[in-house]
């Protein structure tokens, strides 16, 4: 697919193979629009995914992903092409998402307080849909809702570990958390999730 996408534009530097990130960065620095499009295509899931899991708002996540890529493009001159591109892009996206959340917090109160069971119940998409009977789909939705209800810091750690599959060292680099503490904080986040899911199950049992 990448080779086809490049067919009508510049001849790829690596003929027959997808260009490497280094090649794409070099071409983007020369204002090659095809290279920029390919770079965005390659990393849009990662960038959009982290924005979505942090903000819990698909429209905001798309906007933030757009901004993150734009800012990355503007900062390409200062990027060390010898370093991996993905963590750098994620860093920009995470900063955008966290700044967005700070702005949201300033503008309105958080509503994720009070009865945790209730707020989790509101977020489970399948609850009002009688057709949503597949246990696995409901379980996924419940877990996603529980992650969405986590405090931002834990939500970020969980997302980086289980969505982006980053190592503890990479997570430490992204978040500034000491590497020795990453495991502990991930464990705490998982404890919170277990508690939230257990509360949700109790709420389901009470209501049934």
């Amino acid at each position: 697919m990448p080779a086809m996408a490049l067919a009508t534009h510049e001849v790829p530097m690596t003929i027959g193979d997808a260009p490497t990130d280094e090649e794409l960065v070099a071409r983007c620095r020369r204002d090659d629009p095809a290279a920029l499009a390919l770079l965005v295509e390659r990393y849009q899931r990662d960038v959009f995914g982290v924005c979505l899991r942090l903000t819990r708002d698909p429209d905001a996540a798309l906007e933030l992903a757009n901004t993150a890529f734009f800012k990355a493009y503007q900062s390409l001159d200062s990027f060390d092409a010898g370093r991996p591109l993905r963590p750098w892009l994620l860093r920009i996206a995470i900063n955008e998402a966290l700044n967005y959340l700070r702005r949201q917090r300033r503008e309105r109160e958080h509503t994720v307080q009070g009865d945790e069971g209730e707020s989790l119940a509101e977020r489970i998409p399948g609850r009002d849909d009688p057709a949503a009977t597949v246990v696995a789909a409901e379980r996924r939705a419940a877990v996603r809702a529980a992650v969405a209800a986590l405090p931002v810091h834990y939500r970020l750690l969980i997302t980086l570990r289980f969505f982006h599959e980053l190592s503890y060292a990479e997570i430490a680099e992204q978040t500034g958390v000491p590497i020795n503490t990453v495991g502990v904080q991930l464990m705490r986040a998982r404890h919170l999730l277990r508690r939230a899911l257990a509360n949700q199950e109790m709420t389901d049992d009470d209501s049934s």
């Binding site: 499009a37 390919l38 295509e41 899931r45 959009f48 995914g49 996924r140 289980f162």
Partner: protein, 185 residues
């Protein structure tokens, strides 16, 4: 390992972050049903998290429809520096004044001396003001790191400023005899 490993150790080992297996861990897991069950639960939990956090088909469709590559390209294209209206107006005014000054320099000898002097003074004042403002803006923009549209625009702005300065110099030279003459009267 005679005691059961704590959850942190099991998690780190499951995540591949514990380095080599701590001494006795694999032997303990081979013989301890409880810890094997704990490990299995942790692995299931990790799998559930991965599955839940993966982008859903709906989210993927939304991402595809949003055409992020197109949006980013549009944002990059619209952010290319273009001459702002202020800068273009200044350039236009400067050019008009320059043209008027050149025209006056050509037609001036045909006009009465008194009016000629006034016309040149007005042109001199206007051109000096514009040259000063234009040079100041140029310096401020350079210091502020404003991107230049192109070498062509930069060259044309430097040329017009240089031409303006030369013209001011010429007029100042021409004004001297006129002022001397009016002083002598």
């Amino acid at each position: 390992m005679t005691t059961h490993p704590d959850e942190l150790l099991l998690t780190r080992w499951l995540d591949g972050e514990a380095g080599a297996a701590p001494p006795g861990l694999t032997d303990h897991l081979a013989t301890c049903d409880l810890c094997r069950e704990r490990l299995a639960r942790l692995a299931d939990e990790a799998a559930a998290l991965r599955s839940a956090l993966a982008l859903t088909p709906v989210e993927l469709i939304a991402l595809r429809r949003a055409d992020l590559p197109g949006c980013v390209a549009a944002a990059v294209a619209s952010a290319q520096p273009v001459a702002g209206p202020g800068r273009l107006h200044l350039v236009a005014l400067f050019s008009l004044s320059l043209a008027a000054g050149l025209a006056w320099a050509v037609a001036g000898p045909l006009v009465e001396p008194g009016l000629r002097w006034l016309g040149r003074l007005l042109d001199l004042t206007t051109l000096s003001l514009l040259v000063t403002v234009r040079a100041a803006v140029l310096m401020i923009e350079t210091v502020a790191g404003e991107p230049w549209l192109s070498l062509g625009l930069l060259a044309s702005e430097l040329l017009t400023i240089t031409a303006g300065l030369l013209l001011i110099g010429l007029w100042l030279q021409q004004l001297r005899p006129l002022t001397a003459a009016s002083g002598a009267r």
